[in-house]
Symmetry: D2
Subunit: 344 residues, 4 copies
């Protein structure tokens, strides 16, 4: 039974794994100070067109989020986020566990707008309330939507005017930057955000996120903080090698494109079959609204997640593709939709 | 230049890496609930001769230590440890960052004795001081020494009488259990400790420690706590597969034995050359006291760490072997000692 | 200019202050273990009709809230509260600073209903989300409303069924228990809540809240936790004496009644003048909706707080009375409303 | 039975209490923004001969210590202190509970020397260890000793050179600045420390410490942090009034002098009787070494604390005087020593 549950079901892209094999017996320096991590940093900086950033490899998204937020905020400062954001919903209170409130604003499509950020600022005005100091956004969002360059630029501008750090969670940045509607580049992101990360776990690596600190004042002593949170792997080179493999050429973007193309095929078929979506399809996560009767049949052949019950007849589900998604499986899924169309 | 700096310079044991390769394209359940993690748990339980334990795979030692200590202590409770312990010295205050004091007792050989634990208990008597609730020991210790069964039994007994949790850090448990002086088995440890871990990072894995929770009352909701600390890897199966490879047969112990044998050779040669040790050699970490002039020559050929300056003439160094240590390199090091003997 | 800003503008009730004067030169034991604290505890227990509770005197509301919540929850557990609750809005993230998420449910009148609590429980179902373990309510609420016995009983029942602790913030419990609509007694509250406090700061004391721990399992080591949070006053007897003065007879309730009566007079006048309220008037906090033009005049004679702008013409304000509110000032305020009626 | 147990057994100095009485019915602004707090600040600034400091009134010593340390350190930074320091021993891990390690250096007399601080700096050199950023000293120390101007100047210099904050705990600063050996003034302290406090609880107030922040960069948003830790009293004016009473003239120093004089009398008598001291007597805390047989008799007449058992025959005890210590009680104690001299 093929799974469209998520984008972290398989291991690593073969070229990433080959790289690990090939370098396995080298004696490397520990804790991320090895030559592979350095090379990976150099490759990424080249793509960012900035040499003046610090790059650290962290094992996963929640780890990176809690590390960034707890390192850069003073105890009374909070982070503003969409109510659907990963840090608010799906990290078991990881941010609060480091002492910080997540101030949430309602969002329909997973995105945060400048006006919502402004509203949060307006509300927090005195010392009896937490003080906003950071804005957290994700690209793609938890609903598979993306930020356009103009949107990001406006958020950047608002943050700058209000002395807020802008933090972009790029667990699925590969998919965001390679989808059709996208007009952002890695270079843009490094210009517009204070800190962000390039997700490896969900795009070809066994594990690892490349955290990029763009703002000078945030760089100091960051390795102390990585260590303190238990996020400094002894064999840091295991992440360095994987990012070297992903960024020494265009592998990272090629495989993200594949994920998007697979999703696009499915979306096109669903559209042709006349189904609607909870949010417009855009990246490697799709949220079609399907008849429950169809879902019953579907469960026997494919794995997927129920996102939301719409009414007695229909539910929105989540379908996710990845670098590893097989074309035949996508074809099979599309056929399933076509064949069952009208039979519900 | 061959490195005896530590036991985490190379990647994974080839049989571990093969296992990852072979299973790379399987679609696995995320977050450590996959079939490989389950199998690895079953293999380990068999060795522990206990089915009633919970096993979780965590990415590294500091992460595991902070997770265990912060999960099982109430805010006012502290952990008692040797002053040389990893949690006191080399984790950038990771334990304190979760809110808990580490109460340290002086130790000559890295070990904690029942009388030192008792002394700490005697000192902490009222509500103006933290309340001891856990004892942390490591095996092997940070100085490469080990606990004998009788020693561990006495600590266990003291902990039981005083309602303290006994936590054993087994980052180097493989080396401990396969060294000559050892009379403990995994089964013993699972009987005598409330919680402990079996280190993978330093014995054949790319990353991963197998945390074993033996005490019923400590098991509840532990996965929530793993997630909250950022320690739940999306691709948890990457650790599950590695522990499956290490524990489906005797690989884990075979490769730990190799590390010990390599260390023994070096220790024997150092002894024959008349050098003394900071602590008696026993496991895969050696702490010989060598003339500084010899160390100057040695630096050109081998990598090692200065542990402690003894006087103007001599320093104690640390030499570490691992599953990956090559016999030829050990031979070369031994020859170096023999050839330079008396020339300092 | 007379202030109706809040109920903590004046010092202590004269009989409380007299008590402090009279006992000033006694030599008392420190840290709340003195004879006055003991007597105060005995008087309160008598009113609760329970001997099996633990009572601690804490300096203020936020301090008590953060102490209770951080002491009784494990790191991954959260507290459910109304969105208007003090812990969510006006404590500068004090709860989050101790590591816990406040899960908020929308509330119109400051109260939390069983169905809202149930909804929060339904939403939090797996280890990727925080786990509800406590319900926080306040009586009176931040909007001056109160819980009826039947309402509290239902919440108690739901908490019991779901193994949740029920915590009642009684910063204004005096006003709640002496207002007209009330049908709860201190005895009821001690039966229905696991932990609650009886506010002194806002009802006659210079400072101090009497925290009552009703549930056996929550009592252990609580004084350690008080000390650790910096909440154990060296001269704890200063609070003990004040609660002794308030509870040795009916002073606490008499002066709370006075506050309510003063509020009632104002509410009656406002009602007669035809003004509406944001929430129905009930206790010592009133939230009338008044024409902005009237408020402009009012500002010259009285201090009050703007609660919410309703539209271009009107705002809801907050008027607060206390044990210290002077009858003449209330008369003056009522006259102001009567005289200006219809002139806006 | 007269108590020499501590300096917080009685209420407030009569002139302080009178002040509270006199101002009791004023309507004051809440949260420490009242006119009395402002006046108290102005009086203190005058004594400091600095207008550019921020002064906040906090309810107690542990509260102030945890607030200062947690507000000014980043998560990976630690505070260096003497092993006998209050923050290390007697605050139930309050500092660690905010996430920070207390790095302790052994001290014989309760004081920290520049060379000990330097040693701590030398030891903490890389990101696997916490990073020293603050030095904590107390004056008087927990052993009643004081810092001379030259000593404080050298510590200041070392801190400046190493970019460390210097924090002086002045819970007993009154006694320190009025004892015979002292050559420091409040003005000196405000020049040499980055942050310090002037203790009220142990010198005439019901409660309250005046925290003085001298360093510009530490001032920002401090009231948010006070609120967050539960340390912002609604009736902040209760502390403001007391410090106004203590600092509008020389009351604070007069009553501290009294405490010292009482201690001096006792010390002189003990010396005449030929008894030795654990540390040389200097301020309002004395640590004489007395025969256990004498202590048995003494227990029937006076309250005191055993500090340390010296051997089978003798123990060091702690005797504390305060603003409230009665001359007759001191006379009685001295007579006791004289009469029992030689009879043990």
């Amino acid at each position: 039974m093929y799974s469209f549950l998520n984008d972290y079901s398989e291991g690593a892209h073969p070229r990433v794994l080959d790289f690990l094999m090939k370098s396995n017996f080298e004696q490397n320096i520990g804790y991320g100070e090895d030559i592979h991590s350095d090379r990976a940093r150099a490759y990424i900086k080249k793509q960012l067109k900035r040499e003046d950033v610090d790059i650290h490899f962290i094992s996963g998204g929640t780890q990176t989020n809690l590390l960034v937020i707890s390192s850069f905020l003073r105890p009374h400062q909070c982070v503003i986020a969409a109510d659907s954001s990963h840090i608010n919903v799906h990290e078991t209170g990881a941010i609060e566990a480091t002492g910080h409130k997540v101030v949430v604003m309602p969002s329909q499509d997973g995105k945060l707008s400048p006006s919502e950020i402004q509203e949060a600022l307006n509300y927090h005005q005195d010392e009896h309330m937490v003080k906003p100091k950071m804005v957290y956004i994700s690209n793609t969002t938890e609903l598979g939507t993306i930020y356009r360059k103009e949107e990001l630029r406006k958020i950047h501008q608002l943050c700058k005017e209000n002395d807020l750090f802008l933090f972009l969670d790029g667990a699925r940045l590969g998919s965001a930057l390679t989808c059709k509607e996208n007009d952002l580049s890695l270079t843009d992101i490094a210009q517009l955000c204070d800190v962000f990360y390039i997700g490896g776990t969900k795009n070809g690596a066994l594990l690892g996120e490349a955290l990029v600190i763009c703002r000078e004042e945030l760089k100091e002593d960051f390795r102390y903080l990585i260590k303190q949170r238990g996020a400094m792997l002894a064999k840091g080179f295991v992440m360095g090698m994987q990012f070297e493999a992903l960024f020494q050429d265009h592998l990272y973007f090629e495989i993200a494109s594949h994920a998007n193309q697979m999703a696009e095929k499915i979306a096109k078929t669903l559209d042709e079959c006349g189904y609607e979506f909870l949010v417009p399809p855009c990246s490697n996560q799709l949220f079609p609204i399907l008849p429950k009767k169809l879902l019953e049949k579907m469960e026997a052949k494919f794995k997927f997640m129920i996102q939301k019950e719409m009414d007695d007849e229909k539910s929105a589900i989540r379908l996710v593709t990845s670098w590893a998604t097989k074309e035949e499986a996508v074809e099979e899924l599309c056929n399933f939709f076509r064949e069952n169309k009208g039979k519900e």
